[in-house]
Symmetry: C2
Subunit: 274 residues, 2 copies
């Protein structure tokens, strides 16, 4: 055996954390884009949701989450949570010695690249929409783009109920998204990690001509690009291993999380953050 330091680095897992279950959509896209990567996922299910909490509190929680991953030797931290991405990314980048990637910048960049009409819609939880994080990020990339934001608070509980292709969900989606039709947007950012599971229903409610930006896959692409640039991709060619940790209720995490990640999610370890 004769590994160079570089090889050893690439073999380390990618760390992903979220306030709960939603970040599993980001993890799924990461494993699809890079099947050889090992991953460690932390869902802070005891303190979910972060959306209603102050910047200071979210920063503290995010640091605790990230340090847990760092102690397990990850080569990169992915913040698969919109609120933590909006509030804590700067702090994490200052504090951590590995690359840190959030979900908002990749989604905003993809939207700015794709829109032709320069009219972009953003949907998310109340907290994310109130934070203006996506709108600010899009404006920062191209000030000529108008971003229209709408909170869709029923989408998360609908996804957690598993009512993905359902008359009730369709009716709710068409109510939430009706206003976008008059605004003539050509691009819609799914600004919540739960929403990719409603992609089909959301697309139908909007009608044709609107491109949906899934922050999860935009983030996975950015993870891949960043690892490639840093020569940190796992070159083993073997299928990666995926480990899951939660701060509360592993049973519920597994039951609901399988809809997000798939059947291979069959074990999650309960931990206490220090």
């Amino acid at each position: 055996m004769n590994f160079s330091t570089r090889d050893m680095d690439g073999a380390r897992p990618i760390g992903v954390f979220d306030s709960g279950i939603g970040g599993l959509t980001v993890l799924r896209e990461i494993t699809r884009a890079m099947p050889s990567e090992d991953t460690i996922y932390l869902g802070d299910t005891a303190r979910v949701p972060y959306g209603s909490k102050s910047k200071e509190t979210v920063e503290r929680y995010a640091l605790e989450d990230a340090r847990f991953l760092i102690r397990r030797g990850v080569k990169m931290v992915v913040v698969a949570c919109n609120t933590a991405s909006a509030f804590a990314l700067e702090k994490l980048r200052l504090e951590l010695k590995v690359p840190v990637i959030g979900v908002i910048e990749p989604g905003a960049r993809a939207a700015a690249r794709i829109t032709r009409s320069k009219k972009v819609g953003v949907i998310g939880t109340e907290g994310t929409i109130k934070s203006n994080a996506y709108s600010s990020a899009i404006k920062a990339i191209n000030p000529e783009i108008a971003a229209f934001a709408k909170a869709c608070p029923l989408f998360v509980p609908l996804v957690e109920e598993g009512w993905l292709r359902d008359d009730v969900t369709r009716e709710i989606a068409s109510r939430y998204l009706e206003g976008f039709k008059k605004l003539e947007i050509d691009t819609l950012v799914l600004g919540c990690t739960h929403y990719p599971l409603l992609k089909e229903t959301i697309a139908k409610a909007l009608g044709t001509g609107v491109v949906l930006i899934d922050s999860a896959s935009a983030t996975a692409e950015e993870v891949k690009r960043t690892l490639a640039q840093a020569k940190l991709l796992n070159a083993s060619g073997e299928e990666g291993e995926h480990r899951f940790f939660v701060t509360d209720s592993p049973e519920r995490f597994i039951a609901v999380g399988r809809r997000f990640f798939g059947e291979t999610l069959d074990y999650a370890e309960l931990i206490e953050l220090i």
Copy 2:
């Protein structure tokens, strides 16, 4: 002026706390049953929801909430939160020198008194249903009563959206409550402080012959009875004053809270719990 100590005690406000907005339904029933009482309401909106948190954490939060009310001189503490009632009542009763009333015991007692078929349904959030608090309380009163519990996680966000009498809400209610029809319950406990706003819709979904137990009004009756027994009722005959405190986002609390309490809720003070 010549007040006896007893008169002075009766003039003190009733303290009510909840993890957020829902407890306002309990406050509303208290003010209806005892219009002369002054009240102080604390919504711990920065840390909402309590339902997903551990017993230890909820005990700590509940103690902090209660101490805030005690510092403001309340004559009684009403725990208008199902999770805190389930987890922290004992601790609060040990710690506080004023009477403490939760929402679970009054609801359970009312259900046990009313049921003829000895088959009672209970609906609530996932946390409340998982805690078995209502079922245990009902069994403790009368072991012959069978309690059937069902979590209805979409009801809270539907109420917060304000979709109270709405086709979508009706459809969701009929799905959630369908199973109760076969069980031949004659009594249903609304085991969540948000649910009284859906009373009409829930009653229609169940059909006739099922009595709905609103924990909020059962709790208000218990508050009145306890104050009367302790000779602590406010005998001024004047309309009471109501003050509101929150730990985050007073604007949202007022906007959503008005649906729960009415238009007179026009100010809430932002505080930090210590």
